[in-house]
Amino acid sequence: MKTTLLLSGDEALARGAYEAGLKAAAAYPGTPSTEILEYLAKFPEVDAKWSVNEKTAYEVALGASVAGVRSMYSSKHVGLNVAMDPLMTSAYTGINGGFVVVVADDPQMASSQNEQDNRLIAKFAKLPMLEPASPKEAYEMARIAFEVSEKFDTPVIIRITTRVAHTKENVEIGERNEIADKPFTPNAPKYVMVPGYAYKKHIALEAKLLEMAKYSDETPLNSAEINDKSLGIIADGVSYLYAKEAFPDASFLKIGFTYPFCDEKIKNFAKEVKDLYVIEESEPFIEEHVRQLGIPVKAKDVSYRIGELNSTLVKEIIENKKKIEKPFTARKPVLCPGCSHRAVFYALKNLKLTVSGDIGCYTLGALKPLETLHTTVCMGASVTMFESMSKILGRGKVVGIIGDSTFVHSGVEGLIDAAYNGAKGLVIILDNSNTAMTGSQPNPATGVNAKGKKTKRLILEDICKAAGADIVETINAFADNLQDKIKELTDKDALSVLIVKYPCRLIYKIKDPVPKFNSSKCVTCGACLQIDCPAIYKNKEGKITLDEHLCTGCNLCVKTCKFGALAKKDN
């Protein structure tokens, strides 16, 4: 009896890797890649780990490969930037056990800070890249990727996008194949990248790329479907499915092994069809290569490089249109009722501080009406940007703000930098003991690992002191003196860290007595709405309303009300 499951692209890819004998996996959570490691963590045969960041994850996974087992790394697109250092040189060393690097791009930025197209990384790093169009293909390509990795002695990148990662489809699954561990044999010219050895490895890598280009022309992952020859479309990943939906009768060159390019197949396909188009999301990666081959090709206007595609947009591209941006009408996300971050933003807003921010739920503090977070670039940048901003804008004016998981990811180095370079002022760690935005993964500061087992817990206070902070204090997010404490430490001639503790509401469903709302005292001044809590809003008649079901009883709104309409209920 065969089993068919409804699997997301992430889950299907993980399942395929598991069946291919995967023994080690390391990742850092990030939408839309998170579910890959979560799925793998369920299998006792797989040593699945949440790493501290993507660089450590890549090295942990590469180490397992070098030691002789099939291994996998996964992260979101910007996560791979953090892992670029080991990635680039692992193309030179090659692998021992099969090694697959999964990267999930996020065109349209459903939950990201940029739209970078990581297909360009394949060319830059000289690594082969596979691109499944659907969960079914992700399942199959996981196995193929390990075979390619071992055949060519190279890491293999599988690139998915949000619409592959978070689409679910029926996938027929199979049994796990155990793969024998390979022996590790010391081999400095292969594994020690000093100039003399690396030079020779570069020569070998160029030869390998030519071999892989031949493979690209042979593999059925790149295949032509000849139908109506008046329209020929070259498309990769999910773009193929959009194009197929829009033009079911057209001829296709479906690209699944994206890099190195399948030049012969492209040339032959171009000869077969009249109008040749490339349909691809984001950068003109395939388009530029087809042009380099001297083949005239039609492709999308620059305007379609922004955002994701769909079948409607593919039709527009073929009609040679320019994209018309629609106004952004979606409801904005908001901090949960009772979220401890809101209490900190309320205090920071009252103090009129400039806030160097970071990546996590608390990035939402930048949106109206809170508008209390002023920079967000990448993981960890809050601390380092605070270091220089506070020096230039003046002490007492700027604070850095970072979540517990993000601090462990790459805030620690920033704090050492700040201490070493004599920075003064305050860094706030929002410690809710959770990686909430990506769906509640544990991290070193929670003392739980990817398998849900207790492990050594990183003590934030200790590491901040060791990094060189002069003052390290801990406070409850809803403490009455929070604002005064922030002011005191911000103004001090010292480098301080204030750890603001309160458990994430997504995990700890705490419900305290909700405040008493006395509508006769309410003058509808709207001050309580400025904290942007979903539990308090203006109803259709324009009256302030407290949703007692949503309210968790954090009582922050009580602080905002000068008219006594909102009052704390005694326990």
Binding site: L6, A110, N170, Y242, K244, R331, V334
Partner: protein, 168 residues
């Protein structure tokens, strides 16, 4: 052609169902259950949505497509056969997805809120109403409800679903 369960799968027609609402309303659970039910009946099924920030009370939309074979994971504007809203504002924002001959279940949403004292069951009620229009077997629906809700409130969900499905 007929699928494994003996249900008629006519031509290449794909059934398109758009779900919408806000984070925490059970939109994704509802679309998961339809997708499972369609899969159990032997249909090729795709469902697409975005995760992450949306969980924080933002807009949530989920596209479900099933049939003999489905290509794109996304429904085109003006193509949805069924529109299942969980929130009026989101309904109004995405109404352009509904095809001219499509079925809008907004009126069922009001009934769902009246019928369900516990708002947890609103999505189950909406699925019951939706089921009246789909060529999916009751056996598959009930199995999908159990799996989709991870075995929680099995009896209650079944009761609400059947009540909504059997109502005129």
């Amino acid at each position: 052609m007929k699928n494994e369960k003996g249900n008629e799968i006519t031509g290449n027609k794909v059934t398109d169902i758009l779900f919408c609402g806000t984070g925490g309303q059970g939109v994704l659970t509802a679309s998961e259950i339809v997708s499972l039910a369609a899969m159990y009946d032997g249909f090729h099924t795709k469902k697409s949505e975005v995760h992450g920030m949306a969980q924080r009370g933002g807009s949530v939309e989920s596209h479900v497509r099933y049939g003999k074979h489905v290509s794109s994971p996304l429904i085109e504007e003006g193509q949805a056969d069924f529109f299942v809203p969980f929130y009026k504002d989101e309904h109004d924002r995405l109404i352009a997805y509904l095809s001219k001959d499509g079925k809008d279940l907004l009126s069922d949403l009001e009934n769902a809120h009246l019928a369900c004292e516990n708002k947890k069951f609103v999505n189950t009620y909406m699925l019951g109403r939706l089921s009246k229009h789909l060529n999916i077997s009751q056996e598959s629906w009930l199995k999908a409800l159990e799996i989709g809700f991870k075995g929680r409130f099995v009896e209650e969900n079944r009761k609400v679903f059947l009540e909504a499905a059997n109502k005129a």
